[in-house]
Amino acid sequence: MRGRSEILATAARYLMPLLIVFSIFLLLRGHNEIGGGFVGGLVASVAIVLYMLAEGVQAARDLLKIEPRLLIAIGLLVALSSAMLAWMVNQPFMTGLWWKHPLPVVGKVGTPLVFDLGVYLTVMGTTLMILFTLAED
């Protein structure tokens, strides 16, 4: 990255947290409203990438605090284990399990939501790994 744009940096500083919150909102509401793990993960990536463009890759990495490839691994693991939870109660792989009591804002909570969280993390990790790698090289 050549030169640092003050406007971009300022915009990124304010937009980034907003976008992250928005992405989590998208993830949680995804089952009933527009959104979901894919979009959420992408929006979160856009937020971090915006910050990366403004402040540099190292700053973005420091902000993220976790290696993108670890995010991928955790994401896949979360998605897989949410699918395997059904085995615990003697149901076929990937059967959705739901908690009876709805939470405020989120609504009903169940394994599909956990699965979506896995999607969110994997998408975010992959996108960030790609862009960090290409930006650093």
Binding site: G36, L42, R69, A79, L80, P112, F115, D116, L134
Partner: protein, 783 residues
């Protein structure tokens, strides 16, 4: 029986370890496995042969395909299983001596055991497809064993030839078996054999028969596929004795016998099977003339013997079937023994050339004795089993519908040549005049003579006391024909025409032996005829195939991406376009719906952007223009009720632009590489592809939507999966497994990028840096 098969496979897997532990002498140990099976089988023999019972085992394997692990042990299976396990045990012991010190001896034990299991599987299977699997496994193990000495070109070529011929026939067989199971309505052989009439009256019968016969004929080296068998003699001798004489090549004959109740007794069967068998019988006998190699001599007479069995099964009356079964037993015993003898002679003297062998009886007396006993049987002399088999063969010829002078003439000719070959192989090397051999003959160890002596001794004992073998022959013939019958065997029938024929054959054989040198001179004519033989045709065909493959690779896989894209586009346009045009009558267009002004603007802008892109020279302008297409798509998705898609497209488009910006300064500048006439042609092809897609959209959307699974999702999304966003519910719940796969793919793509950028380049540089350093060091040393 499943236990037998499984224990065999498991044992084969343990052999490398056992071999390393016990060394070359472990052949004795490995022979215990077939011996234990032999004991088990012999224990079942009274039950199977005496009472005509069968043992059946069925385990469901692939129920959706109707394939079962179905095994069935009946008289025919018993005969073959006894041969396979008995000769197998002896051959494994023999291999311990013959391949002593060979670097691949362990491999030999593994392969031969695997083959033995596969062959047992063939004869014990009661399901067509199960049989086929074992059948192919024998082809593969045969391939590996022929190519055992894989450093030699000849061995590799022979292995390929055998595999191509038998596996090619195997494909035909598979097609035939699939058809047969369709026609008969079951894959179980025992069931099919009950419904023979259904199959024979089906219009598909000629097709079924032809395909199965091709499979059987290639495997059993019938004319015109006989040529692979003599070439397969490149295998180590115990392999030749076992696979290419006693067992595997009889698999085709076995299949014919097994399917006799279904397929036989039609004019077509009789014509094809006995016709081909007769031709093979003559071919094998005549081609043996002029051969000087012990193993090739035996191989050609094996071809002739296989022809005899096929011929007899083609006649398929009770007498002929009895003769065929007896012949299978007799041939397995004497030919197996003679091959092992040939191997012992080779080992002792270093040559297999009959002209150079002689007077070995004093050096290897036990081998000589075995050779003599087996030779008597092969020559068809009393009191050996071979004599009984030949008598029965003549007897069934007398009763057949074939013209007597033709069939008897051929049989007597083949018998006489067999006699001469028997004398050459079993008599001359041991009692003939001493000749020069590569190294002075040395005595051989017990492994070399035990097997042949047992086999040839058995042939003589059951010849003298035929009652010993009658139950076996009777049981096997009964299960071929599926009705009870009596077998009578005796050395002395009284003064019958058959005896006269036997005497005539012996007389001719004796005469042939006296003048064998001139006969063998005459045999050289085959070399002159070779250019028109099937073996040559095979070579020509194979060379042609290779040239064609090279040509089409050069033409189709030429490395020009442009050419690949063109091929794909033109093929698709032609095929799909043809289908569209041929159904023009019921295709229509219409139902385009209304259009609004802002929609026109969006689409027009996108079209303009797309058209401009190929002309742009600036990379940044290209990225911006592509952004127009991407964000245009966002709008289209938004207008047409796909908010989720719009959001994803928006995010991805943004990320793609960033991706390009990050990478673009490393990318080469655009240069004009292609001359304009070529570009014009490309444009025409591309337009054809584009027009096809437009036409497809118009044609498909004009028809009413076929109701599909979406309705289910729409109805049950909330009730079953607690979600109101149906798209998301499909992704994380209804089709969650797909999504799991997709995010895995995505993760792999990311890891791929990481690996490409971080690892490849680094490793390359390290590698080359190391190289340069080495060079520098060398350079310094030189200084």
């Amino acid at each position: 029986m499943l236990v037998i098969i499984l224990s065999g496979f498991i044992f084969a897997a343990l052999i490398p370890w056992l071999y390393r532990r016990f060394g070359p002498r472990s052949g004795w140990l490995f022979a215990l496995l077939p011996l234990s099976w032999l004991v088990y089988l012999a224990g079942q023999a009274p039950f199977i042969l005496g009472q005509g019972q069968v043992i059946e085992e069925r385990i469901s394997w692939m129920p959706s395909l109707g394939v079962e692990l179905a095994f069935r042990l009946d008289g025919l299976g018993m005969l073959f299983a006894l041969l396979i396990t008995g000769i197998g045990a002896l051959v494994i012991i023999y291999g311990g001596g013959y391949l002593d010190g060979h670097p691949y001896q362990g491999r030999f034990f593994v392969l031969i055991t695997l083959f033995m299991v596969a062959m047992l599987g063939v004869v014990l299977s009661d399901h067509l497809f199960l049989l086929f699997i074992f059948w192919e496994l024998t082809s593969i193990t045969s391939f590996l064993l022929i190519g055992f000495e894989h450093q030699r070109y000849g061995a590799r070529a022979a292995a390929w030839q055998a595999l191509l011929v038998t596996a090619g026939g195997g494909l035909a067989l598979l097609a035939g078996l699939v058809l047969l199971s369709q026609v008969a309505g079951s894959g179980l052989i025992s069931v099919i054999n009950q419904n023979g009439a259904v199959v024979r009256n089906s219009p598909l019968y000629p097709m079924v028969l032809l395909l199965i016969l091709i499979g059987a004929f290639t495997k059993s080296a019938q004319f015109p596929f006989h040529f692979w068998l003599p070439n397969a003699m490149a295998a180590p001798t115990p392999v030749s004795a076992y696979l290419h004489s006693a067992t595997m090549v009889k698999a085709g004959v076995f299949l014919l016998a097994r399917l006799t109740p279904v397929l036989a007794e039609t004019p077509l069967w009789q014509m094809l099977v006995s016709g081909v068998g007769f031709l093979t019988l003559l071919t094998g006998a005549l081609l043996a003339l002029g051969q000087r190699d012990l193993k090739r001599l035996l191989a050609y007479t094996t071809v002739g013997a296989l022809g005899t069995m096929t011929f007899l099964l083609g006649l398929s009356d009770a007498l002929a079937v009895k003769a065929a079964v007896l012949y299978i037993l007799a041939h397995g015993l004497y030919k197996g023994a003679l091959f092992l003898v040939a191997g012992a002679v080779d080992h002792s003297t270093g040559t297999r050339d009959i002209e150079r062998l002689g007077n070995l009886a004093s050096t290897v007396p036990q081998v000589a004795l075995a050779a003599l006993l087996a030779g008597i049987s092969m020559a068809g002399l009393p009191p050996a089993l071979g004599f009984l088999a030949k008598e029965l063969f003549f007897e069934s010829l007398m009763e057949s519908t074939w013209p007597l002078y033709l069939s008897l003439g051929g049989a007597i000719l083949a018998g006489a040549i067999n006699f001469v070959v028997a004398a050459l192989v079993a008599f001359k090397p041991f009692w003939g005049r001493a000749q020069d051999v590569p190294h002075p003959p040395h005595p051989v160890s017990v492994e070399f003579w035990l097997g042949p002596l047992i086999l040839s001794g058995l042939g003589l004992v059951v010849g003298v006391i035929p009652a010993l073998t009658i139950p076996l022959i009777q049981g096997a013939a009964q299960s071929v024909l599926q009705f009870p019958l009596k077998v009578k065997l005796a050395l002395w029938h009284g003064m019958t025409p058959v005896l006269g024929l036997s005497l005539l054959t012996m007389g001719l054989g004796g005469l042939g032996w006296a003048i064998y040198r001139s006969l063998w001179q005459g045999g050289r004519i085959w070399q002159k005829l070779a250019p028109v033989g099937p073996a040559h045709l095979y070579e020509v065909g194979l060379t042609g195939l290779r040239r064609f493959a090279a040509w089409q690779t050069r033409v189709l896989q030429n490395g020009y991406l442009r050419f690949y894209v063109m091929t794909i586009v033109l093929t698709t346009v032609l095929l799909t376009g043809f289908t569209l045009l041929s159904r023009l009558s019921w295709l229509g267009v219409g139902g385009w719906g209304s259009i609004r002004f802002y929609e026109v603007v969006v689409v027009a802008l996108m079209i303009m952007a797309a058209v401009v892109i190929p002309r742009l020279r600036s990379r940044l302008a290209t990225i911006a223009t592509m952004g127009m297409i991407g964000y245009g798509l966002v709008l289209i998705y938004l207008i047409y009720s796909a908010p989720d898609l719009a959001m994803v497209q928006f995010a991805i488009e943004t990320l793609t632009v960033i991706l390009f910006v990050l990478a673009v300064y490393r990318l080469p500048k655009f240069t004009l590489l292609t001359p304009s006439p070529t570009r014009f042609l490309d444009l025409l092809v591309a337009i054809a592809g584009g027009m096809l897609m437009t036409a497809l959209v118009l044609v498909v959307t004009a028809r009413p939507m076929v109701p599909h699974i979406s309705d289910y999702f729409a109805q049950n999304s909330l009730t079953l999966a607690n979600g109101r966003n149906v798209v998301n519910v499909i992704l994380v719940d209804f089709r969650g497994l797909d999504t799991l796969g997709e995010i895995t793919v995505l993760a792999l793509a990311g890891i791929g990028v990481y690996a490409l950028v971080r690892l490849t380049l680094g490793r390359l540089m390290v590698h080359f840096e190391g190289l340069e350093e080495e060079e520098e060091v060398e350079h310094e040393r030189a200084l």
